[in-house]
């Protein structure tokens, strides 16, 4: 299975003086859901477009199962471009069949696959309607069906959740997990970090065309600095700062969130808190992906 992973190997791309990608390297393993996060313009879309061959890289290459990806192997990719697009005046059914056939499916198989996905995504009732007559949400469902209709062996989805209603988000999440379970490498980009945290086995955070953090969600969270949350109802303001190496990052009534410098002693903090009176909460909290993302992006900024 490991050999059918998708490898993004040292991709670089410039537009004049603007660096779009700078030595972008990572891999998406077979059966894995990979979350691709980063600010707008960080290089997520550019990376995906290079994988699909819509753009060409200045250097570096994309490999699938160890071999450089080409037009024939790209036909096994299910792709959802950031800029959604299908033929507005073409009927939903015809459109799905056409796209399946462009990916090399024979006519009969194309039709049954198109019907199956239209059914699954709840747009089968609109089979004979022109795409432009559908609501935006339903158009998104057709777009997803278009990415899945040829039974792809790789899924590359650029912002697949944007514009989806909660029901469609559930269907989409389910489909992604299912495809990954079938051994397909799945990569998607999103700004909805709670979804990424829930769905992805691994996450890559990009910034200015570079991969700045890469790993399992838990791994990344464990590796990041935690926060100490202490509630001391009778503590006077600033009670915690007497402990060396402690800074207050947030204060909500009696509850303070503290950041400890390396080597600072959390037991000293507890002692200081107990000295003010009763302590009702004392816990380490790991950052969630949103905090992690913010942290990674801002600290790299300073570097």
């Amino acid at each position: 299975m490991a050999e059918s992973s998708l490898q993004i190997d040292h991709l670089s791309k410039r537009y004049g003086s603007v660096v779009a990608l700078d030595d972008m390297t990572f891999d998406v393993r077979a059966g894995e859901v990979f979350g691709f996060v980063g600010s707008n313009g960080a290089g997520k879309t550019t990376t995906m477009r290079i994988v699909l061959g819509v753009l060409s890289a200045d250097s570096g290459e994309v490999r699938w199962a160890g071999e450089r990806i080409d037009l024939a192997s790209r036909r096994h990719i299910g792709y959802m471009p950031e800029e959604r697009g299908l033929y507005p005046k073409m009927k939903v059914g015809e459109q799905l069949i056409y796209l399946a056939r462009l990916h090399g499916m024979p006519a009969g198989a194309a039709r049954s696959a198109a019907e199956q996905w239209a059914e699954r995504l709840g747009v089968h009732g609109r089979w004979d309607d022109e795409l432009q007559k559908l609501s935006l949400g339903n158009q998104q469902r057709v777009q997803l069906a278009a990415a899945l209709v040829h039974d792809p062996q790789i899924l590359v989805l650029d912002e697949p959740f944007s514009g989806l209603d909660p029901v469609a988000v559930d269907v989409m999440s389910q489909v992604l997990a299912e495809r990954a379970a079938a051994g397909v490498p799945v990569i998607f980009s999103s700004h909805q970090l709670d979804l990424v945290q829930r769905l992805c086995h691994r996450v890559g955070i990009v910034k200015a065309g570079r991969m700045v953090a890469l790993g399992g969600v838990d791994e990344l969270r464990a590796g990041a600095e935690g926060r100490l949350v202490v509630t001391a109802p009778q503590g006077p303001p600033g009670w915690a700062t007497i402990v060396p190496g402690v800074t207050v990052t947030a204060q909500d009534n009696a509850t303070v969130t503290l950041q400890l410098a390396p080597g600072a002693d959390d037991q000293a903090v507890l002692a200081a808190a107990l000295a003010t009176g009763p302590v009702t909460e004392f816990s380490w909290r790991r950052p969630d992906l949103t905090e992690l993302f913010r942290h990674v992006v801002t600290t790299q900024e300073a570097a």
Binding site: R49, A65, R75, Y98, G104
Partner: protein, 410 residues
Amino acid sequence: MSSPIGASGAGPAALNSMAAIRLVAGRELSTRLHSKAFRVMTLIVLLMIVAMVVVFKLLAGSGPSMVQVGVLQGDAQQLAQVEATGTAVGQHLSAVAVSNEAAGRQQVVDGDLAALIEPSTSGQLRVVVETKLDTGLQSALTVLARNMALDNQISSLGGDPATVNAAVSNAGLDLQVLSPPHQYDVAQIVLGSVAGILIYLSLMTGGQLVAQGVVEEKSSRVVELLLATIRPWELMTGKVLGIGLLGLIQVAAYGIVGVGLASALGVLTLSISAAAGTVIWLIVWYLIGFVMYAFAFAAAGALVSRQEDAAGVIMPVLIFVIVGYVLGISVLPSDPGNHLVSVLSVIPLFAPTLMPMRLAMGGVPAWEAALALVLALAMIPALAALAGRIYRNAVIHIGARVSLRKALAG
């Protein structure tokens, strides 16, 4: 499902270029054949062609066609003389004997006879018509009256009118022209003009369809999905072929209905082979012209991302079609052998509009027709390669208009 196919992508899912082009062309053809606009447009043009042929037929009906003349108590010799006189002055007459005057007059009123004539020995020829005497018929009958008077005089002088007439009709010029100019047939000039209009309309609408189709794929962003599966040149070629085939069906329908109906109604006084030749040349030049211009239109369309911007970029291509047509239609009908137009009609950029008009009008030396064909065919690969380059580099850039220089450089 769970076992990934090898990265080489071989196997049942492989799609070669031919198959990709066929799929794209098939989509173009079927979506447009099913579109209401296309059907209505084609039907309107067909009706216009039918109407035009019928109008020609009605106009021509009062012209040089057969005119029936009644001869009061005419014998076979008189009837033959009437018809012979008509033929001599270019008026097709058919003469019938009428037994009594009242019946003859009634037939004139009913419109069965154009005129009733009553020969007399006095030299006066009495002619009865319903409203007025047609000029063609009038000249024929005047000559007839004079001939009859002459015959009478010859007979009274003791000669034989038949011998004299034979001698007279054998007398004539034996003209020897050393370099005869081409005699243009009016019917062929009309045919040439119609061919010009048809090819102009077809090239213009076909070309614009191609450009709009390219822009539609950019503006709807579907092009990104398509280019993830097929190569840009496959997409462009498929589109050009699909729309070209659609236009071919149209041109063939127009040509066959028009020429067929005209031949059936006798409006065209051309041989079947000349008429068929015109239709075949029309189709050949439509195909060459379409392929030539369509690639240029596709490249132009690829430069912009919005339909509103399309008109601006396709104008430089369209201008060649328009200039060729306007020159041809304004000069050729009155001067089919015009030197400037003859020269331009061999140059590939203008040949598709001018050459079929000239060919339909006739008098084109074989070497000119062949040269135009060879030059145009030779230019197509070069033009397609250039257009393919522009298209490939420009089609993925969505947003502002791509400059030609950037598209050429890549």
